[in-house]
C-alpha cells in the first residue's frame, strides 16, 4: 500500500518512455516512402491521384512525383474531378491516424477498395471512385490555392464591385456544371466583410448564382453549386462581385456527363 504512489509514478514514467521510444517504429522511413513511390510510378495512370492520410503526412511530396498529391481532410465530401482511381497512401500506425474512418468515408461516397499493400509503416490502397465522367474543365486543374486550409485546384478571379464584376470566361461542353468557390487565406475569416456573389452565365444567359459569405467555422468556406447546363459546347462566364473587393478569390468549375 505504501508503495502505491511510487509505483504509480514509475508506471507513468515507464509508459511515457515506452511510448517515446517506440514512436519511431510506427513511422515510415525513407525506404518505405521510396518503395511506395516506385509502385505508384509503375501502376498509377493519368486519371489517378494520391490522397495522403493523415492529411498532414506531406513528407510524401518528397518522394511521390508521378501522381498528383491531394491532402483533402473530408474524404466523403471532397471533389476529385477527373480522378478515376484514388491511391490512399497512409501511415496506419501513427497515433490518431484513424485510417478506418478515412476508408469508411471513401466507402460512403461509393468508392470501392482494391488490395492494400504495406511498405513498412506505410499503407497503399487503390480506390475506384466511380465518379461522374468530366466532360470539360472550365478552370485550370493545374493552378492551386488554399481555401479552408486545403489546397484546391482553382483559378484566382478578381472580385469586382457590383457594377464592374470580375470576369472569368471559358468554353466547354454542357452537362452537370459543378462550381466551387472560396476566399483564399485568412481574409476569408473576416466576418465584417460582405459575401461574394458569383453569377454564372451560359452563352450570355443567366444560369445560376453562388453566394460565398465570409467563413464562419464550422461552416465551410469552400462553397458548392451544381446546375444543369444545356448539352453541346457553350461559352461559360463567371461574374464575381462584392462590396469588399480586396480579397483573393478562387473559383473552380467543370462539367460532368449527366
Amino acid at each position: 500500500m505504501w508503495s502505491v504512489p511510487l509505483l504509480a509514478i514509475a508506471a507513468v514514467g515507464a509508459s511515457a518512455l515506452l511510448f517515446d521510444l517506440s514512436l519511431p517504429l510506427r513511422l515510415p522511413g525513407n525506404r518505405d516512402w521510396a518503395e511506395a513511390a516506385a509502385v505508384l510510378r509503375v501502376r498509377a495512370g493519368p486519371a489517378d491521384a494520391v490522397q495522403l492520410w493523415p492529411p498532414w503526412a506531406e513528407r510524401a511530396r518528397l518522394f511521390v512525383r508521378s501522381v498528383p498529391v491531394r491532402t483533402e481532410e473530408d474524404l466523403r465530401a471532397a471533389d476529385y474531378p477527373g480522378v478515376e482511381r484514388l491511391w490512399l497512401l497512409a501511415l496506419p500506425r501513427v497515433p490518431l491516424a484513424h485510417l478506418a474512418r478515412a476508408r469508411a468515408a471513401l466507402r460512403q461516397r461509393g468508392a470501392t477498395a482494391g488490395d492494400e499493400v504495406r511498405f513498412g509503416a506505410l499503407s497503399l490502397q487503390p480506390w475506384e471512385l466511380h465518379g461522374p465522367r468530366v466532360v470539360s474543365f472550365l478552370t485550370s486543374p493545374l493552378e492551386e490555392h488554399e481555401v479552408d486550409y486545403v489546397p484546391r485546384q482553382c483559378t484566382l478571379v478578381r472580385i469586382g464591385p457590383p457594377g464592374d464584376p470580375g470576369r472569368l470566361q471559358a468554353r466547354g461542353q454542357g452537362g452537370v456544371m459543378h462550381v466551387r468557390a472560396g476566399i483564399v487565406g485568412e481574409r476569408a475569416y473576416q466576418g465584417f466583410r460582405g459575401p461574394v456573389r458569383v453569377d454564372v452565365q451560359v452563352d450570355g444567359a443567366a444560369l445560376a448564382t453562388l453566394t460565398v459569405p465570409p467563413t464562419a467555422p464550422s461552416e465551410p468556406g469552400w462553397r458548392r453549386l451544381e446546375a444543369a447546363a444545356p448539352a453541346g459546347e457553350h461559352a461559360f462566364t463567371f461574374l464575381v462581385s462584392a462590396r469588399d473587393v480586396d480579397r483573393p478569390f478562387c473559383l473552380s468549375a467543370w462539367t460532368t456527363a449527366p
Partner: protein, 537 residues
C-alpha cells in the same frame, strides 16, 4: 542547508543552456530584441563618451521596441558590448543571449531555494522538473523576456518570503521557522525585494501582477506575519524607481511612454492560433486553454506531478493547512496562469507566457515526488533507491524529449498528445516563431547560387540579418518578400499560412520540395527550389 547546492545547480543550468544554445534559431522576437540591443549599445557607448548627449538623446536610441521595458534588452546590450565589442570573446548572438542564460540559472537557484525549504532532494528535483521538458528548456536559451520574468517572479517570491522570515536560514539545519515577531523587516531584505520587483517591472509587464499577489498573501497570513507583511509592502515602491532608472526612454516625457507601453499590451493584437482543430482568432478563448496546452506539451510525468501539486496546494488551502510559504507559491502560480483563463487575454506563444505557473508548482511537485519514495520506505524499499526510481521515472521522458526534439522547442508535444504526430492529428499549433528554419540553412548555404533570393516566410528580416551575422546563413543570400520574388522558398508550416505553399507551387511550377525539416513525419519547414536551380528535384 547551505547556498552551495542551489549555486551548484544554477551553475549546472547555465552550463547546460550555454552548451546547447548554438543550434537554437533566432525566434522572431529575438530579431527585434537584437535590433533594440544594438541601438541601446550605441547609447551606452555614447553615455561613456558624452554623458550629457546620451541623457539628452534617449528617445533616438530607446524608441526601438518601445513596447517592452528596457532592462533585459539593456543587459543584452551590455553583455554584447563587453564580451563581443570590447573583448571579442563571444559571437554576437551568444553575447546577447548570455543574460537570458544567466536568468535561467537564477531561476534554478530560486527554485532550489524554495525546494530546499522542504528537503535537499526537493531542492534538486524542483528545478529539474521545470527544465526537463523541451518547451521550457528551449525557452531558457532565448534572448527574450519569458524565462527572465519567470525567474524574477520566483525571485520576488523568495525575497518576499525572506523579508517575512518564512525561509530557513542558510546556516541552520533546522526546519523552517517563521518568525512572527513584531520586529521590522530587516532593511537589506526589503531593499532586495524592492530591487527585484523593480527588475521584474523592468523586464516584462507580467510583473504588474506581483503586488496584488503579495498584498493578498499578506492579508491571508496570521496576524503577526500579516503585520510584518504589510510593513514590507512599501518596499515595493522601489520597483517603479528601478523601472525608471533602467529604462532611459522614460527619462523624457515619461507619461507618454508609459501610456504607449500599457496601451500596447491592453490592446494587443490576437494572432491566429491552431488549437484542437480550430483556429482561434480572437476572444472568447477556451477557458482551460492554458491548462490543456500544458497537459499536451509537457512530458506525462510532469503533467501528473504538476497536477498533483496544484491539487494538493488547493486542497490544503481549502482546509487551511497551507504554510505561509506554500500559500505564496500557490498565489504566484495562480497569478501567472489566471490572466490567460479570462478568455480575452491574447493566448499565442505556446506556454511561454505562463511559465511561472509551472515554475512555482515545481517545489511542491518535487516534494510530492520525494514523498512517494518516503512512503515506499515504509514498505521496505530503500529510500535512496525509491528516490532514484522516482526521479528517473519523472525526468527521463523529459530528457528524451529534449534529446529528440531540441533545438526545435516550439514543436514539442508530450505523451498525452501522443507526441508530435498525435498533436498534428489533434489539430494543434505545429510551431511558431520561425526558429526551426535553422534546420535548412546548411542546405541553402550549400545549394543556393551566389546572390540567390530566398523567401524565408515567417523569418523576419531582423532574424535573417542575425543569421547572416552569426555565420549561419551566407552573406550573399538575399531576402525575398514572397515566392513570386524568390528562387527558393523556406516555408514554415502553419495552418493559418497554408496559402503560402500553393502560392509557391504556382510561382515555381513544382509541387515537389527540395528538402525540409520533418519531425516524426510532420512537416515543419519545407524548402522549394525553382526547377533547374541547384538542389531542385
Amino acid at each position: 542547508m547551505s547556498r552551495r547546492l542551489p549555486l551548484a545547480l544554477a551553475a549546472l543550468t547555465f552550463a547546460a543552456l550555454f552548451a546547447t544554445q548554438s543550434g537554437v534559431g533566432f525566434v522572431r522576437d529575438e530579431g527585434y530584441y537584437f535590433e533594440a540591443a544594438k541601438s541601446y549599445e550605441q547609447w551606452v557607448a555614447l553615455l561613456l563618451r558624452a554623458p550629457a548627449a546620451a541623457v539628452r538623446d534617449t528617445g533616438r536610441y530607446w524608441s526601438v521596441n518601445f513596447e517592452h521595458p528596457g532592462l533585459a534588452k539593456l543587459l543584452f546590450a551590455l553583455s554584447h558590448l563587453v564580451f563581443t565589442t570590447w573583448l571579442g570573446w563571444l559571437p554576437d548572438a551568444l553575447a546577447w543571449r548570455l543574460p537570458a542564460l544567466a536568468s535561467g540559472a537564477l531561476l534554478t537557484y530560486w527554485l532550489a531555494v524554495l525546494g530546499a525549504q522542504r528537503s535537499r532532494a526537493a531542492a534538486v528535483l524542483a528545478p529539474a522538473l521545470f527544465w526537463c521538458a523541451e518547451r521550457t528548456f528551449f525557452d531558457g536559451h532565448l534572448a527574450c523576456f519569458d524565462v527572465p520574468i519567470c525567474a524574477l517572479t520566483a525571485g520576488v517570491g523568495v525575497a518576499w518570503a525572506r523579508a517575512l522570515g518564512l525561509l530557513r536560514p542558510w546556516t541552520s539545519s533546522s526546519t523552517p521557522t517563521p518568525t512572527p515577531t513584531s520586529t521590522p523587516t530587516p532593511t537589506p531584505h526589503g531593499l532586495f525585494l524592492g530591487f527585484l520587483f523593480g527588475c521584474a517591472l523592468g523586464v516584462k509587464h507580467n510583473a504588474w501582477l506581483l503586488p496584488p499577489v503579495l498584498i493578498v498573501h499578506a492579508l491571508l497570513l496570521p496576524a503577526p506575519l500579516r503585520r510584518r507583511g504589510l510593513r514590507t509592502l512599501p518596499w515595493l515602491l522601489l520597483g517603479p524607481v528601478v523601472l525608471f532608472a533602467s529604462w532611459p526612454l522614460l527619462w523624457h516625457d515619461p507619461l507618454r511612454h508609459l501610456s504607449d507601453w500599457i496601451s500596447f499590451h491592453t490592446q494587443h493584437v490576437h494572432y491566429a492560433w491552431y488549437y484542437l482543430g480550430r483556429e482561434l482568432r480572437g476572444p472568447p478563448f477556451p477557458i482551460f486553454y492554458p491548462l490543456v496546452l500544458l497537459a499536451l506539451v509537457l512530458p506525462l510525468p510532469q503533467v501528473m506531478l504538476f497536477t498533483a501539486a496544484g491539487a494538493k496546494l488547493l486542497w490544503d488551502f481549502a482546509h487551511r493547512a497551507l504554510s505561509p510559504l506554500r500559500l505564496l507559491e500557490l498565489g504566484l502560480a495562480g497569478a501567472a496562469l489566471l490572466p490567460f483563463m479570462l478568455r480575452n487575454t491574447p493566448i499565442f506563444g505556446g506556454i511561454k507566457h505562463w511559465l511561472a505557473f509551472v515554475a512555482l508548482l515545481s517545489p511542491e511537485a518535487a516534494h510530492l515526488l520525494e514523498g512517494s519514495a518516503g512512503l515506499a520506505q515504509r514498505a521496505g524499499v530503500l529510500r535512496s533507491r525509491g528516490l532514484l526510481l522516482a526521479a528517473a521515472a519523472a525526468l527521463l521522458p523529459g530528457v528524451w524529449q529534449i534529446a529528440h526534439v531540441h533545438p526545435y522547442g516550439t514543436s514539442a508535444y508530450g505523451e498525452l498528445a501522443l507526441g508530435i504526430p498525435g498533436a498534428a492529428s489533434l489539430g494543434m499549433q505545429r510551431q511558431y516563431w520561425s526558429n526551426n528554419v535553422t534546420a535548412v540553412l546548411p542546405w541553402l548555404n550549400a545549394h543556393a547560387p551566389n546572390g540567390a533570393r530566398v523567401f524565408f516566410h515567417e523569418v523576419n528580416v531582423e532574424s535573417y540579418r542575425a543569421y547572416q551575422q552569426a555565420g549561419l546563413l551566407r552573406a550573399d543570400i538575399q531576402y525575398a518578400s514572397g515566392p513570386w520574388d524568390a528562387q527558393y522558398a523556406a516555408l514554415q508550416w502553419h495552418r493559418e499560412f497554408r496559402d503560402r505553399e500553393p502560392e509557391t507551387w504556382n510561382a515555381f511550377g513544382t509541387r515537389t520540395p527540395a528538402t525540409g525539416l520533418y519531425l516524426d513525419e510532420t512537416p515543419q519547414v519545407v524548402v522549394y527550389a525553382r526547377p533547374g536551380l541547384p538542389g531542385a528535384p
